[in-house]
Symmetry: C2
Subunit: 263 residues, 2 copies
């Protein structure tokens, strides 16, 4: 079998943030798959077929790409950000595991990219400068109670939290609920960053506090970064502020022993 | 003031994983700073001065770069991986916050890159395909008890864990201690990936289990990814296995309520 599937991260949207490897893999492919908004960022080429799909069909998109690769074609799956972070790499693995055995013989590569939280962080300083976690706020594929548990665990342990998929039309209340839950674990003045379309012409970066976070709007193109109690803001005259999480941590900012400590 | 400081991520080592933006920022700089091993990856250029330093002097390296930028020069700080993840961006912010006020007027940009965990994950499938955290295992700048607490919280909440700085000559026992602690929270068969020098000629990717992880050697160039109880391996005849964390999570795999749940 000579087919190849490359699952490629093209970063959050600025073509200048593609890696050389991503550009080469895209140029070498004969067929491109992807969510239509990501595929639209790749210039059209006469030698490539394009298979755009909606954003709710990840598994069938993965199966279609694997099928075409198994027929001998050189296929590229275009993923926003990094394909391995809340994107297409896991869907391709899942489809491959449950698909026909010959798919396991395919030449399959994953091309990493700049995931949204890194692009947003770079526009504001270094909010992910110390221990952090990345959580999807979508309860389409996991129960909301599990999301709450992870938010509590992360805030209780002093991790900075990057939230992916914070809001969609079908999930309007989850982000507010997350802020309210976190407010019971973190100081009201904890810094929160809303980063939308980082690096694109319509980029919008907003710095606020946990107490005021509910007043800021977000959508599926937004990555929300919630600082730890140690995350700091540096004001700069005539320039946007910097936000960073110090490399050192002397202690947890919570007022006493956590439940885990008593184990 | 016309000086500029660009803090640039060049990924884990493969020049093909630089972004276009990183290449352009490096080419435009008159002076390059960085840890000597990272700086050595940037081709020499006659119009650039080079200021290599040891890996333990992050803050003074940041101060030196800010000073030179404040004198009007165009300076680039070369960071491995992404500058915002356990790298130079936080040190630059810290130096700037504590430095002379004129540093706040500098043109300061951060250029994101492919951080080690993303490059390692891409070589093996999608182990970071669902909620995860990134923790530095170095207790140089935080107490070991805090690291233990974060490991417990992450494992207890079902997060995949990416460990940076797992081992150094001065910190020989911490990685084994982390595996032993995690073994009290996670099944013995939990998948563990050791990714060293991802994308470089001396790359080494090893998949093992938590029970056997102590027998694998690691160093400062290794990123260790510890799966959740849901992380899966797909064997492929004649090819290396794939490891991925499914996009869906039905429940936590732990046997009952966690301490956090009782709050």
């Amino acid at each position: 079998m000579t087919g190849r599937l490359a699952v490629i991260g093209i970063g959050p949207g600025n073509p200048n943030q593609w890696t050389a490897e991503a550009s080469q893999e895209i140029a070498a492919a004969g067929a491109l798959f992807g969510y239509q908004s990501y595929l639209a960022r790749v210039p059209e080429s006469a030698h490539q077929t394009r298979h755009a799909s909606d954003n709710r069909v990840e598994l069938s998109r993965a199966e279609d790409a694997l099928k075409l690769a198994a027929s001998g074609q050189h296929v590229a799956m275009i993923s926003g950000g990094d394909p391995g972070v809340f994107a297409m790499a896991a869907a391709v693995c899942e489809a491959l595991e449950n698909g026909p055995p010959e798919w396991r013989a395919l030449d399959l590569v994953f091309v990493p990219g700049v995931t949204a939280m890194l692009a947003v962080a770079a526009r504001i300083g270094a909010p992910l400068g110390h221990d952090f976690c990345a959580l999807s706020l979508s309860d389409n594929l996991k129960p909301w109670a599990l999301i709450e548990r992870r938010l509590r665990a992360a805030a209780g342990a002093g991790l900075v939290i990057a939230l992916y998929n914070p809001v969609s039309r079908a999930r309007p209340w989850q982000l507010s609920a997350a802020f309210r839950l976190l407010a019971t674990h973190l100081p009201a003045q904890t810094l929160v960053i809303f980063g939308r379309a980082a690096g694109r012409p319509d980029e919008q970066i907003t710095v606020t506090t946990l107490a005021a976070a509910e007043t800021i709007s977000a959508d599926m193109a937004t990555c929300v970064i919630i600082g730890s109690a140690e995350t700091r803001k540096i004001d700069r005259p005539g320039q946007s502020p910097l936000v960073y999480s110090p490399r050192s941590a002397a202690k947890l900012a919570s007022d006493g022993r956590s439940p885990e400590d008593s184990q």
